[in-house]
Amino acid sequence: MTTISSNGYKTGSNLERVLAAGHFAVTAELGPPKSHDAEVVRKKAALLRGCADAVNITDNQTAIVRMSSIAAGVIASQEGLEPIIQMTCRDRNRLAMQADLLGAAALGIRNVLCLSGDHQSFGNHPFAKNVHDIDSLQLVQMVKILRDEGKFQCGDEIKGGGPRFFIGAAANPFGDPFEFRPFRLAKKTAAGTDFIQTQLIYDMDRFREFMKRVVDMGLHEKVYILAGVGPLKSSGAARYMRDQVPGMMVSDTYIERMEAVVRDIPKEDKKARAAAWRDAGIKICVEQIQQLREIKGVAGIHIMAIEWEEAVRQIVEGAGLMPRPVIEG
């Protein structure tokens, strides 16, 4: 059995150690391939190595079938990353989830992010039946029962003790009803969440208001909140997120800035436009991180640069967050 020395930590994962030591944490994201090609994971892992305290491995993201998050997470850890495996309630019932959690722990994984999961109608198997046996809050509770009580959800004892996971959950300050969002975060905290990663932030005013309410409720003292950021790829992508993606808000300022940087570049010069957008996207992201560091209650950032993992190093460097701390013990 895999044993983990806790030394007073809940799990002793690197992410937990960095947060517990009071450092401003950095997590990133690695999307597994739509194939069984381990090399893809290794290449992405190389881009992220040293830039993040832990890296989310997505679980059939946007309901598109990909290499399993646990398998990709193990490959990522072989490459020197600490994985946070994402687990959605869409594809598995409570039996399969607990089985996979035991397996993940046996393979050395120590962080899990509990999600409802994007609806299957957005993915490549819209005809599939979803599961939703339990929801994301109940998944958090289940992982906590495994860890803290050494029991399965049904109450049966786990021989040799339960798997120890640092428990993550998501929060979306841009979903409605806005007034309820801090309270839902409180519910997730009460359920046993150790860290929160938020939806991508492109509306700083709304996020500030959200955090104000969260801090007023004292939640920032009970759960580590990592603010979600990601570099915009183009003005079109920004508009698409504003208009088409449910639960997202994008301030016009960002769209205008992305439009402005290509104003003097002819449409035919696609290469130059893409380069200008890339630079601007990264610059905006770095500025956002600086703004987020000033917001009370923000314990770190979660950088989502899916299929643009190269950007992460530039962003973390640009934000002055390199090198990442190494916590001994």
Partner: protein, 228 residues
């Protein structure tokens, strides 16, 4: 009520391939109210099939009858004596009606003309919407009378998910977010603190996947049934 809609005529016609004498059976209860399988719809369905089969050069005799409730033996038993005249029954009842006929008249081919959709209500003329999935363990007391099992795309008990925006579900702009509605209702009732309780995982044993569910009420059973 149970809400159903008719299968496309071509599909019904295809099912009737090879049959010469068909009894079209409507139902006077739910499917009459949702305008899918009552007396009037039976008439239109039978006429349409007569025309459609005639165009194909076939001649199918089609008689019509609508019983008050297809889902109870006593209402369909009177059909028994007529059945020798037909080689198929086309039911315009819900799935329960079709099965009641098939179970009572096992020697007779019974075909469904409807797709049974859900339990719901007409929200406006010509529009029906689901309200209940018969999960068998009602939680409407917790959610302000709005069911997240039937109305949330993810059946969340601790919603809303991050995809709720402007009152709409992430799955479709046509779909109201059940949890937005729950929030508004509980807010109006001054009962928001109830939403702060983390709802435990649902016991689905009362719901699907356990074979047909039964309710047994001994206070209503007849004495001879006890001895069976």
């Amino acid at each position: 009520m149970i809400v159903a809609e008719q299968k496309p005529l071509a599909k019904v016609k295809e099912m009737l391939e090879g049959y010469q004498k068909v009894l079209v059976v409507g139902c006077g209860t739910c499917v009459t109210v949702c305008l899918a399988g009552g007396e009037k719809e039976v008439g239109i369905m039978a006429s349409s099939l007569r025309m459609a089969t005639r165009l194909d050069g076939r001649s199918v005799a089609m008689d019509e009858v609508t019983v008050q409730r297809q889902c109870e033996w006593e209402y369909i038993d009177p059909l028994r004596e007529r059945l020798a005249n037909y080689d198929a029954i086309l039911s315009l009842g819900c799935g329960v009606g079709v099965q009641t006929l098939a179970e009572r008249f096992p020697g007779k081919r019974v075909l469904p003309a409807l797709n049974t959709k859900f339990m719901g209500l007409p929200v406006e003329q010509g529009v029906w919407e689901e309200r209940c999935q018969a999960c068998g363990d009602c939680i409407l007391d917790l959610t302000g009378g709005i069911c997240p099992i039937a109305r949330c795309s993810k059946q969340l008990l601790n919603g809303p998910c991050g995809g709720s925006q402007n009152g709409k579900c992430e799955v479709s702009k046509e779909t109201a977010c059940a949890w937005q509605l729950i929030w508004e209702r509980m807010s109006a009732l001054g009962m928001l603190e109830r939403l702060m309780q983390v709802q435990p995982p649902k016991d689905w044993r009362t719901s699907r996947d356990g074979g047909p569910r039964r309710i047994i009420r001994d206070d209503l059973r007849l004495p001879e049934r006890y001895e069976e």
